[in-house]
């Protein structure tokens, strides 16, 4: 889990936060609280996050701050999740994305589509 973690640093201190378990393409992995999905994968030595829908060439992240869309993955059955800005949660199911994303995929894994979000109006 901590293969790629920085052990010592002259300025920063990285406290070892709580361990979170998740799966990547079915394989059990562990990250730490405060990780994004991308940083947790990276700490586990994973750098291929997806494949181009047509050419199947490998895709990794590029900007790490939510601008470029290079890090899109399927998270908990939802496609096109920006893994560089999505915080890791216990039990997350993270999968390589190899297509352009499919709204129906969420139903295929037995979860109802959440259409309530976006429908509410004034706060």
């Amino acid at each position: 889990m901590d293969d790629q973690r920085i052990e010592s640093h002259p300025i920063l201190q990285f406290e070892k936060s709580a361990v979170l378990s998740f799966t990547f393409d079915g394989q059990p992995m562990q990250g730490r609280e405060g990780d994004t999905v991308a940083s947790a994968l990276f700490a586990n030595g994973v750098q291929v996050f997806g494949r181009h829908f047509k050419t199947k060439r490998a895709r990794g992240f590029y900007c790490a701050i939510g601008n470029c869309s290079s890090c899109l993955m399927v998270v908990n059955g939802k496609s096109n999740v920006r893994t560089c800005t999505t915080y890791l949660e216990e039990g997350m199911v993270v999968e390589t994305q190899e297509d352009r994303g499919n709204l129906l995929r969420k139903r295929q894994v037995g979860q109802a589509l959440d259409v309530s979000k976006g429908a509410s109006d004034d706060v």
Binding site: R5, E7, H9, P10, S39, A43, Y62, N67, T85, V123
Partner: protein, 360 residues
Amino acid sequence: MYETDVVVIGGGPAGLMASNAAAEAGASVLLIERFAHLGGQLIKQTHKFFGSEKQYASVRGIDIPSRIAEERALVEDRVTIWTRSTVLGLFEDGVITVDRDGKYCKIRPSRIIVATGASEKFLTFPNNDLPGIYGAGAVQTMMNVYGVCPGRRVLMVGAGNIGLIVSYQLLQAGVEVVAVVEGLPNIGGYAVHASKIRRAGVPILTSHTLLRADGVDGVESAVIAQIDNRWQPIPGSSKSVSCDVICISVGLSPLTELLWQAGCDMRYVPQLGGYVPLRNERLETTVPEIYIAGDVAGIEEASAAMVEGRLAGLEAAASLGLGFTTLDDERADLCQQLDELRAGPSGEKIRSGLVKAGIA
């Protein structure tokens, strides 16, 4: 419908300062930030800042957001903060739509300050889509925010300040930097940063370019070559360099989508990083009531972004009839700070760009 005097879009250095300033002047402020944290890209800047005391010089970037938060505490009854909130659109009737942590909201502000920042530029070369090719800022985020190494051996492309600073921070994290490659014949960043990495044994190869990356499902090597004054590779000078990460540090582009949508007059100004909104000396765009501050107005250092933020915040509030008796003095002081930050040879590019982006 949420109503407020001023909406500030973006909680980075410019937006934080704009919020404080508008609130100090008496305005009610809603600060909207898409991430869970405030501070924007300051949260990964482990180096100490230049400039003067007013721009937190000699304070590390990572420590600046908490300093600004201390100042915000004095006006916190007037500042509302929404994190995990993304502005979706600016509409003709003055309404802003927001995705607030999954909930759709509408806001009607009297004034809008856009401080959305910038994104990293990219380079065209064969195999530039391989994992292992990352923005320099992305690598900085992975290391300094999440404590994760980007790889073992890094080739840095670009010897501007970001390329030089991130190279040094890679060394601090225990990562080898094979070389810094720079297409120009001279180093663009400050000499103090260049000296630090040179002393650590990292070569800075000016008049060199990256020809291609190689590898299967990830970077395994890169081919670099010397270039002539027409940017053409010099035959026989190319060589393969073993590395597992290539960092791209070739500048930033303003994140101007919302300004385009709002109908602001935009102009392509290469010195400022790309398309930027035209603005008057009060940092107001051609769409009345929309102000700008920070990298979205033109790529500069965070120090300038903070001063612009404060100026935009005061101006937005002043246009609502709010402010304090010393407003004119403070306005003059802020403009002088900006002039000082943009002075000298290193500010020449910014100064020439601002001439093209300015309107009366």
